[in-house]
Point group: C3
Chain length 158, copies 3
């Protein structure tokens, strides 16, 4: 029997939305779905390494690089961010309720063979380079996403 | 013949987005779909009772409870909210054009047997308790959502 | 063999989100899918003509008309808009990397017979009239959207 498929386009760079994406992805993988998260636009920030990776960039690309959060742990909330306070509150309640914070959700996804894809077109636009992103991820464009999604049982845009 | 299925993850706590979710849900129910709205994160506010329900809470949970709107009628817009003015404008044009405001859309959904589910994991995080939410709703986690969605014809994340 | 189908609800009026919607739509059309973009709420602004079209409107409808961007080229970003600076930066990197700006993505979609639909209910609410919107688009409600989506292989809400 063919495996069921779940695909998520992660467009958002918000901590809470990325959390929702990864919780659904990990759930679907546990249900034995083939799961792909296609990171595009601000969602690419989820895949950034925390440390500063020295790369040559043009002016605009440097600007974007500085303005955008470096990695999942640095991202703000979509609501009630209050200059970062809401995000601290969320992290505190995650700890208190033994929920899993976003960086660990990403590790779990990689351990469960969720395919993490970075959208090459928007990497270009935002000036992000492969060595700035997590290891062991895939690189692809909208054609590859559609090939997965057209066979998908659950397809979401987050 | 099996019924078609529609599932919506309502992540957003914005009046306009929740309106879109409930209009699609009511439409699908009228089309004889089995419909589920899975409320998670800020989308849970759609299900809050308007009146203050006295419950014991920790400090963080009290804070979230105060900062978040109590029920559909209090939620702001995703765009052009202008400290509530945009929301007043939307409500006025809804009345003027005989459209259905959000609280009534929710009642209609309940009358049409749309399954309204509150995500227990994010209820925990935001410190929301069952008696603060509307009556006659379901409580479940991501596994139940996926079980519905993998059979869904239309699955949306809003 | 029946054609595969992709439907997108474009709720958002953000330049970057509309870009993502149209890139996926154009990709799916190139893959020979039947594609529909159903524009609702702020997503209707994507379809507005750039020039001011003189129409009779009530006070609220005039207000909405003035506050909302006239056409795709005027829309802001969902993130890092910084009073329009982020949007200028995005347009500049689009040019630099030979990517396609939103107004041209819309033209491409029309050339590829992507069905562009304006939601009549929300047109009413926001006071938008047919002659203010692009030529050669369709007008429909949620029932028509659902009829398309229930046969869809890829259904997204953006």
């Amino acid at each position: 029997m063919e495996k069921k498929k779940t695909t998520i386009v992660l467009f958002s760079g918000d901590y809470d939305k990325a959390m929702a994406a990864y919780i659904i992805a990990n759930g679907a993988a546990a249900y034995d779905h083939e799961v792909t998260i296609f990171h595009t636009f601000w969602g690419l920030n989820t895949l950034r390494k925390e440390q500063l990776v020295p790369v040559k960039k043009g002016f605009m690309e440097k600007m974007f690089g500085k303005m955008m959060p470096r990695g999942a742990d640095k991202m703000g909330l979509s609501k009630m961010n209050f200059a970062g306070m809401g995000q601290k509150m969320i992290k505190e309640v995650i700890k208190k309720h033994n929920a899993v914070p976003l960086p660990q959700l990403i590790e779990m996804a990689q351990e469960q063979d969720v395919k993490l894809v970075a959208c090459t077109m928007t990497m270009d636009l935002l000036g992000l380079q492969e060595k700035e992103l997590l290891d062991n991820i895939d690189y692809a464009g909208v054609a590859a996403y559609l090939a997965d999604a057209e066979e998908g049982n659950v397809n979401l845009f987050i």
